[in-house]
Amino acid sequence: MKPLRNPEREVLHFRERLVSASIVVAVGFLVLCLRFVWLQVVRHGEFLARAEQNRIALVPVTANRGLIKDRNGIIIAKNYSAYTLEIEPAKVDDLDGTIDALSSVVDISPRERRRFHKTLDDYKHLDSVPIRTRLSDEEVARFAAQRFRFPGVELRARLFRQYPLGETASHLLGYIGRISTKDEERIDTFANPDNYNGTDYIGKIGVESSYEEQLHGTTGFEQVEITAGGRPMRTLSRTATLPGNNLILSVDIKLQEIVERAFGDRRGALIAIEPATGDVLAFVSKPTFDPNLFVEGIDPANWDALNGSIDKPLLNRALRGTYPIGSTYKPFLALAALELGKRRPDSTMFDPGFYSYGGHLFREGGPKGGHGSVDLRKSIVVSSDVYYYALANDLGVDAIHDFMRPLGFGEITGIDMEGELAGVLPSTEWNERRFHQKWYGGETISIGIGQGKNAFTLLQLAHATATLANNGVLMKPHLVKAIEDAMSGKRQATVTTESGRVALRPENIAFVRSAMVGVTAEPSGTAYAAFVGSPYSTAGKTGTAQVVGIGQNEKYDERRVEERHRDHSLFIAFAPAEPGVQPRIALALLVENGGWGALAAAPIARQVMDYYLLGKEPATTGRPATPAERAPAPSLRAAAAAPSAVGN
């Protein structure tokens, strides 16, 4: 190859190369143009959809939970807005280290730390677990300033459920808590499970649970534009939430407070019902607990204290405690005797203090030597056991069963709260089914004084008492009187009509009612001391239910029996009970291991009646006030001046 300096030829060569290069450039840009047409025209729709799908997220917006108010409008469950500090466990490697660092910014107590770990263990599916709730403004500001130090820790403004009255009415209200796996199964049975998208809390027990779907409201949705990192930028559209309905309880919360105070430290239950409507005026189970502890997940220390307590504060005694009801059964047995023609009002027998059946002696807890000559009325007033031993024997267990069943004994009342127990109303058939055993006649004798295999809830007893006061017209007991639309304030009553009638002759009802008035009004009545000086008439009946069996010839001696083995003290009553007057309140109550019905239970009933009928509040000492301590109405002065303690 002989290189020659030939500039002209080189330039020509170069121009050829320039043409080649131009072709490459043109082809390259043409390829790009075709690519753009492909992406932006042919596949435009597909990519546009993907871009939209990228940017828009549907975010559920939880509705405000309905309020719970008492029958007079006092708010007993509400919502408040507060800041909470939450940790997203998936985004945090060292949980304890993060919490340590956090505690230099906001206060975190060891209790809150334990609660955090418990919640984490209990609800493994949670994205975000609260470590501190209800931050002060100062704490919020402090954390916000140092937020960068804590990836995976979020400050959230949330609505919290609060029960401003604390321990009052806790068994009735129940509480809400975080949705568990079990709750999710329950939600699936609801009419619209999708309504729970975005919901973290659900009613666990009490009316918070039984009216869950009313309280919850309708979840709204927001279309939110989000960034690639998931950060919300702006709201595009909004489907409004519908706040949950408010519950108007039939309960008078002041009455409830008075009852709970009257119980003091004692265990027991009381249900008060308005006979004409079935409104539950008070629904007490003692001891109570603070439902606020449960809302954010209870800490282990409090949980152990409540769950491990021998007093069983978490047991709803009114709904789930089944007891022998002792002598409070007698008015109903007397009614049965009259209705079934086994006794007439003037049927008299001699009560020597014991009853002999099949070679066994059945003793009674009355004065030595018995009550002497006893007719049907006196049997109620002085509470003669012997009279009812004989009566039960004459009626037989199956007749008693058939009479009592329509009154609701041994049946759930259908109250608007979950978990009600039916108890036991024994019959020979039931006995055979349950124990594969013959019913012995001797067992019927105990039934006569509300012992033996009887086991009823206080709710049943209160319901039966209210039915008696309502002349046999059954009204289903209900805790929620009406459901209130949170927007319009319109109320819809829950129970408007009677659920049935027990056919009872008016003269028989009047007779039993009059005898029950004797219990509180006559000096020989077992509850005379508790009701002395009341300006209204009360129909009542005391009861004392054995907790442990007493040997046949043994005498029960309160001093010798351990506190937990002492008898339960019961009382049923309704008032006002003047002839022809519609009673406004009926109640049943039990003081566990309270001993004599007349001593522990009846005075509490007196406080209930005094408050409900007269508006009179007891002294705040917790024990029943004596007539002298009270400021009686002027009309009562004469009666109050002569107190006397008589009988049982």
């Binding site: 080189e10 790009l32 990519f47």
Partner: protein, 369 residues
């Protein structure tokens, strides 16, 4: 008085000697770049001001280069190349690592990327070499030219910076091509490259392989390796014919587009201005490249024409590779879009290149042969 009038006159004649077509095209592209950056960097408003400053610096550099005569450029070629080569060696020895790649050299005042010098240093050097050998070219000259290219390319690839290495390789190759590399060599080269592909594959870093694999099927890993390409394709495609409008791109403003002010800014532009905007941009780049090729065709010396032609093809390569990468035609390599992407270094390099084009045009052959 006299001297100042004289310098004013000289300045005016210098200004009128600048190529108006080139200036207009550069101005239009710069305007598009700033408008797009304003939208892409709306969450970092400082970037816009920074880029304005970069444009001023690059413009000044361009005018300085335009004012130098091609003869000065010829004299600068060897020193620039040698300094660049030494700097590349220094990077390997004492360079600063950023994001796993050792590309920067700390020279006290600031950090520089020596590889950037080579983007123009290699074409300058080769143009100088072929100019010296003009009229007496032998095969050995082409081999030596390849050596001059491959040494810096190898050093840059070791950093590792595959994108820049390929661009420098391309720049050098263009000079060799325009210098008259025989076609059969070219064919042999292509065949050799194809044969070497498996070897190259085994030498690639994992992230480089995954970029290539992702390109073949971006949907195979939409949240991982394919995310960048997929999201920029969604941005371009959803822009449609007319685009979503300036500042209205959802992919852009919701941060779905990665590197949206730098390498992927074309996705922002494309989402907001659509196919129409893209065609305008392509036309402008085409005019720029065509103008540069024309300048090369009219250049007075072998050095000038080789330099101008390779600059033309460098500009084309940048624009093409970037747009092809963002629209999913080529794998993701770190190539900015000239005059549009945010970043001072690239802009200054472009300014230098265009200044060189201008001085070559100013000293063109006055008589067509």
């Amino acid at each position: 008085m006299n001297t100042s009038t004289g310098s004013a006159l000289r300045l005016r004649s210098f200004a009128s000697s600048l190529d108006p077509a080139l200036l207009a095209t550069l101005g239009a592209l710069s305007l598009i770049g700033l408008i797009t950056l304003y939208s892409a960097a709306s969450d970092h408003p400082g970037n816009f001001g920074g880029q304005l400053r970069n444009f001023l610096v690059a413009g000044a550099v361009m005018l300085i280069c335009a004012s130098l005569s091609p003869r000065v450029l010829t004299r600068m070629a060897v020193p620039v190349y040698v300094v660049g080569l030494l700097a590349l060696l220094a990077v390997l020895a004492v360079g600063v690592s950023v994001k796993g790649a050792q590309r920067w050299l700390d020279i006290g005042v600031t950090r520089v990327q020596p590889a950037e010098i080579m983007k123009l240093g290699v074409p300058l050097m080769l143009a100088w070499y072929f100019d010296r050998r003009a009229g007496a070219l032998r095969s050995i000259d082409f081999l030596f030219a390849f050596l001059l290219v491959l040494v810096p390319v190898g050093l840059i690839a070791r950093q590792p910076d595959l994108g820049t290495a390929l661009l420098v390789l391309a720049a050098g190759f263009f000079v060799i091509f325009f210098a008259g590399l025989p076609w059969r060599w070219l064919l042999g080269l292509v065949a050799g490259c194809l044969a070497a592909l498996p070897v190259v594959w085994s030498l690639l870093h994992d992230y480089q392989r995954s970029r290539i694999l992702t390109l073949l099927d971006p949907m195979s890993d939409p949240l991982g390796k394919g995310f960048h390409t997929l999201q920029s394709m969604i941005a371009i495609g959803s822009g449609g014919v007319y685009g979503k409008g300036w500042m209205q791109g959802t992919q852009t403003h919701l941060e779905f587009i990665p590197e949206r002010t730098t390498d992927f800014i074309f996705a922002v532009y494309s989402e907001e201005f659509g196919l129409v905007g893209n065609l305008v941009l392509i036309v402008l780049f085409f005019v720029l490249v065509a103008r540069a090729l024309t300048i090369a065709g009219n250049a007075a010396t072998p050095f000038s024409r080789l330099l101008a032609a390779s600059i033309a093809m460098i500009l084309f390569t940048y624009a093409f590779v970037n747009m092809a990468m963002v629209s999913g035609v080529l794998p993701v390599v770190g190539v900015p879009l000239p005059l549009i992407s945010y970043g001072g270094t690239a802009l200054v390099t472009i300014g230098m290149a265009c200044g060189m084009l201008m001085t070559i045009q100013r000293h063109r052959k006055l008589v067509q042969s």
